[in-house]
Symmetry: C2
Subunit: 255 residues, 2 copies
């Protein structure tokens, strides 16, 4: 079948298969290959690389059109990737794209993001993988520029591949026109003032996650800074988190 | 108060505050400082660095004894750390220890583990952090040797500190006596044959997560290999996952 000679592109996200971001991504990548979408059946923001082990998961077809099959899954973004590659696809994907996320995944957000968790999972399977996020949480955000840059990056990955254990994190600001795309580092920093106290129906104190990101990075080429200046950011990320530089000093602890 | 001059040690896990692993850890660390435990109210294995944003979370005191306060929290392991540091503790902890996990968190397991997600979160807050896991999933596992090594490592961290953005991942095998503790790297590899098909009550196909780890690492000093040989493994881990080595080549893509 001619269709099987086209690149196979696996698409997922953490906002669920109904989100505008993933629908726009499908449109943007459609003519690059055969698309299989396996996305959560509802919002899974902040799920990181969580997996579902205490209950079973399942999936179903949501819609099909020539060159595109969309499945929904009851699990996490990482479950979606595992299920697609282990049980659904008849060959290894040539590319995984996760997104487009409604909201930025720069700096330490990469640690909490389900979108980036899915991209990391693709990379663990040896599939060249890319996460794409737009710095706009609104359901009706304008994804035009983000789609253009996401597609451009996806085409380059299909052409050049990625090193073993490396995946890419693309973030796009809302300011139009975007000043350009910068290869850069994950900003160092953390979220502060993270909870809003409230009360439940019985009067008990409950805590809603909120807060803001405090950028502590001293380098000019950190993603959070560049995004604030109007650039899109592209950070290459590693699966291997071993701190090789510290191993030698740790040896001297004589444990 | 004299009590506040002692090191403040924050303890959490992903198996929940009732698990044997965390109770044994509390006993092992009790005389090193003032312990505050903020742990999930039930099992949260495989939660990675997931955060709870769609619903609020809450916590309550489970028990107190001199020098130890145990809270349970409705959220994820990372939520526990965020809540403790933002809302509960009156000062920054001197050390965070997450565990002792029932089951190993070597190799790529560090990516999915709630235990290690909590350790990473402590590190993001600037708290010297350690995750401890025993390669035994049983509820009544023998934690004696694991407690000894966990305490030894915790003492060294209190003495020497850890670099900004670095945390430690300690895994201990079940074979007694342990041959020694090795500073090593996170093994390269992945899980394979990850699902068992089954049926739900209505006859629909469902998928249970299972599988086994395939070690693809060519280095002798990878944690999975050393654990199989009977050593305990200690891997220094980084929060910054930027692949600096690949940045230069990525520049040549001219995106």
């Amino acid at each position: 079948m001619e269709r099987n000679n086209r690149p196979l592109i696996l698409i997922t996200n953490d906002d669920g298969f109904r989100a505008k971001g993933i629908r726009e991504l499908i449109k943007a990548l459609k003519d690059l290959g055969e698309l299989v979408v396996m996305a959560p059946d509802g919002p899974r923001s902040g799920m990181s690389s969580a997996i579902t082990s205490l209950v079973p998961i399942k999936y179903k077809v949501e819609w099909e059109e020539p060159g595109v099959t969309v499945y929904s899954c009851t699990g996490t973004p990482v479950d979606c990737v595992k299920l697609a590659i282990n049980e659904v696809l008849d060959r290894e994907p040539d590319l995984l794209v996760s997104g487009i996320n409604h909201g930025g995944n720069m700096a330490i957000c990469v640690n909490y993001s389900g979108t980036m968790g899915a991209a990391a999972e693709g990379c663990i399977f040896g599939v060249p993988s890319l996460g794409v996020s737009l710095l706009d949480h609104r359901a009706d955000a304008d994804f035009t520029e983000c789609c253009r840059l996401g597609r451009l990056t996806a085409e380059k990955i299909l052409e050049k591949g990625l090193p073993h254990g490396t995946y890419l994190n693309l973030n796009v600001p809302t300011d139009i026109p975007v000043k350009g795309l910068r290869i850069c580092r994950q900003a160092d920093g953390r979220w502060v003032k993270e909870f809003k106290r409230s009360e439940d129906a019985s009067g008990q104190t409950v805590f809603w996650l909120t807060g803001y990101f405090r950028n502590d990075d001293q380098h000019d080429d950190n993603d959070d800074k560049l995004l604030n200046e109007g650039y899109a950011s592209l950070v290459p990320c590693k699966i291997d988190i071993t701190d090789y530089a510290f191993m030698q000093e740790l040896q001297t602890w004589n444990l």
